[in-house]
């Protein structure tokens, strides 16, 4: 077990900058999820920690060693690949023991470790099978078994569940979580799936075009997104972004939306007057109760029924707005409900840089 430190790590492919400088401290035993859309550099970052990609600039420290110039084999890491990367000509047992045999471990010890990993992952019946005789979920488990037997200080996962069907993915997600609780090994997990990211992570790294936009606990990232990008990426449906003008005056600050709707902001917010982007999560809106004066009226184009909830998609001026309301509220396409906003859970962002304004 070890902590992992990244110090302004950069990666260039010729003139193309893939990673612009990432700083991160990963504590011993922590489960870190790096999340972002394809092409954001998350896999590159993981492969740099693994030693499969050279580091252009900066430093990566595993335990107390700078590993920049250390071979992948000697970094004391194990990696689970997206396509599992099982050796097709070897049995499950041989796949799991390959790394141990190379390191010259004695047979009794190898056997003990393989059996233990097989037991944890319920692979005992399949030890003599070849990978092609296994289902996707079993192959995934073998890939994890191969990592476990090595007893490394860090596990690296590169989108390990993206080749599985939805149901299996949920199940394996749980197994990975349990495994981490059981073994307590520092884990770095790359995914583009925000549900995986939210459920697995102790802390979350949201990557955006080669930068880490925000590093924080899932709750923190969801509740206080550092940028409009993070707000838009984490949460489903995404956070609504409306352009607004903040006016300070008698009666406290208020945000005037493009269509003229004025929203009173909490009195303790003291942003300077000016143009902002206001971010409102769909689930922080509700239908106005009878007798309440609705804060805004939404022209609903489409009401998407999800069962428990309904998503009301509509326009406010020319800007899209989605509200998540309970299904029994009974709104449908082309209705015009009055909505209340839990304004204390909204955020103001700088319209240029997209950074959240601290209030």
């Amino acid at each position: 077990m070890a902590k992992v430190t990244l110090k302004s790590v950069k990666k260039n492919y010729g003139p193309v900058k893939a990673i612009h400088g990432v700083d991160m401290e990963i504590a011993d035993g922590e489960f870190i999820v790096i999340v972002g859309p394809s092409g954001c550099g998350k896999s590159t970052l993981l492969r740099m920690i693994a030693g499969l990609e050279a580091i252009t600039e900066g430093e990566i420290v595993i335990g107390d060693r700078v590993v920049n110039d250390i071979e992948p084999a000697d970094r004391d890491i194990a990696m689970v690949f997206q396509n599992y990367a099982l050796y097709p000509h070897m049995s499950v047992h041989q796949n799991m023991s390959y790394g141990l045999r190379i390191r010259g471990m004695d047979k009794a010890n190898i056997e003990k470790r393989v059996q233990r990993a097989a037991e944890i992952l319920q692979l005992q019946p399949y030890l003599q099978r070849k990978p092609r005789e296994l289902s996707g979920g079993q192959r995934q488990r073998v890939a994890m078994g191969r990592a476990i037997v090595r007893e490394p200080s860090v596990f690296l996962f590169d989108e390990p569940l993206s080749n599985l069907d939805a149901k299996l993915r949920v199940q394996m997600r749980l197994e990975i979580k349990r495994l981490h609780q059981q073994l307590g090994v520092t884990s770095i997990y790359v995914t583009h799936d925000q549900v995986e990211a939210m459920t697995l992570a102790d802390r979350l790294v949201v990557m955006n075009q080669g930068r880490a936009d925000q590093i924080g606990s899932p709750f923190d990232v969801y509740g206080n997104p550092a940028t409009t990008y993070v707000g838009g990426f984490i949460g489903s449906p995404a956070m609504n972004f409306l352009s607004c003008r903040v006016e300070t005056g008698t009666g406290g600050p208020k945000a005037v939306l493009a269509d003229g709707t004025a929203l009173m902001l909490p009195a303790e917010w003291t942003p300077p007057a000016g143009n902002y982007t206001i971010g409102i999560r769909p689930e922080t809106m509700r239908i106005a109760r009878p007798g309440e004066t609705a804060q805004l009226h939404l022209n609903v184009d489409v009401a998407e029924e999800l069962g428990a909830d309904t998503l009301l998609h509509g326009k406010l001026g020319d800007e899209d707005l989605v509200a998540r309301v309970p299904s029994h509220a009974g709104y449908h396409d082309h209705s015009r409900p009055g909505l209340m906003i839990d304004i204390a859970r909204a955020h103001l962002f700088d319209p240029e840089s997209g950074l959240r304004i601290a209030l």
Binding site: A73, Y98, R103, R150
Partner: protein, 293 residues
């Protein structure tokens, strides 16, 4: 998974394969059947009449020490061509696979020898090794080797093996390269993380995954060495000196067209045919069972 096409018209499929069948019948089945017929006949000295002699041509072959010797020569020749050819092309393919830049140029250059006709390849290497003006011959002479492949049987074998191997390397190279490139990169990376060095990675991961390709190439190369090297041998050594490079297929031609023993020659063709059928059966059986991981 096999894909099956379903035809509405039941005669259409036969019509579609008719040209191929016609060619096969005219150029393969008919000559082959003629060889079988010829192999049990013997012609008189003037070529006017043939007699049925049963298995006599075959029996005579197995008492002919030149024929048995030709078997040994063929075995040696095909083993050398196959092993040297495959090792070199595997080495070249591994090198090409590691290249990042200039791969296309490298591949194109390596494919050229395949476009050279066997007789031309023979002539080319004949010049290179020609005692006197040949460049390699000169180098060998400088190195103190008494070089003349027209007189020395072992040297003659060396030259035909070089020429025949050189011609086949392109083909092997292409298949090996395709095989190497179809191995997922993540497998190699997984092995690297597992602690295997480059050499260990090659032998324990890459090579086993190449084995279907390798087996296919072994069969193809053996068939090549047996049957398609006639031109190389004819232009370099004409089977000599003293029949030291007379492989089976060369002897078929020599006995039939030079020595005018059509019956004996046909009997040899029939034996060769049996060999090639055997090799093909092995190959298909193996490929069906083993290729898919």
């Amino acid at each position: 998974m096999e894909k099956r096409v379903v035809f509405q018209n039941r005669y259409l499929p036969y019509l579609l394969i008719a040209p191929q069948i016609a060619i096969t019948i005219v150029f393969f089945f008919w000559p082959a059947s003629q060889a079988v017929v010829q192999s049990v006949l013997r012609e008189d000295a003037f070529g006017t009449r043939s007699y049925f002699v049963g298995m006599e041509n075959f029996l005579a072959l197995f008492e002919d020490e030149y024929y048995l010797n030709s078997f040994k020569i063929t075995a040696l020749f095909s083993t050398l061509v196959t092993t040297i050819g495959l090792s070199l092309s595997l080495l070249l393919a591994v090198t090409a696979d590691r290249l990042v830049r200039g791969t296309t140029a490298y591949k194109t250059l390596l494919i050229w020898p395949y476009a050279v006709a066997p007789a031309v390849a023979g002539a080319l290497w004949g010049f290179v090794f020609l005692p006197g003006p040949g460049i390699f011959a000169w180098l060998l002479l400088q190195a103190g080797v008494d070089w003349n492949f027209h007189l020395n049987g072992n040297q003659a074998m060396f030259v035909v093996v070089v020429a025949a191997t050189w011609k086949q390397i392109s083909y092997n190279f292409l298949f090996f390269l395709a095989g190497l490139q179809s191995i997922p990169k993540s497998l190699i990376e997984a092995a690297a993380i597992d602690g295997a060095g480059p050499i260990r990675r090659f032998w324990s991961v890459v090579f086993p995954l190449l084995s279907p390709t390798l087996f296919f190439l072994v069969v193809v190369n053996v068939v090549y060495a047996f049957f398609e090297t006639f031109g190389v041998i004819h232009s370099l050594t004409r089977g000599g000196p003293a029949k030291s490079t007379e492989i089976l297929v060369y002897k078929v031609w020599y006995d039939g067209f030079e020595a005018q023993d059509l019956g004996g020659s046909a009997a040899q063709s029939v034996i060769l045919m049996a060999i090639v059928i055997g090799l093909t059966v092995i190959q298909f059986r193996y490929i069906e069972r083993k290729v898919h991981y």
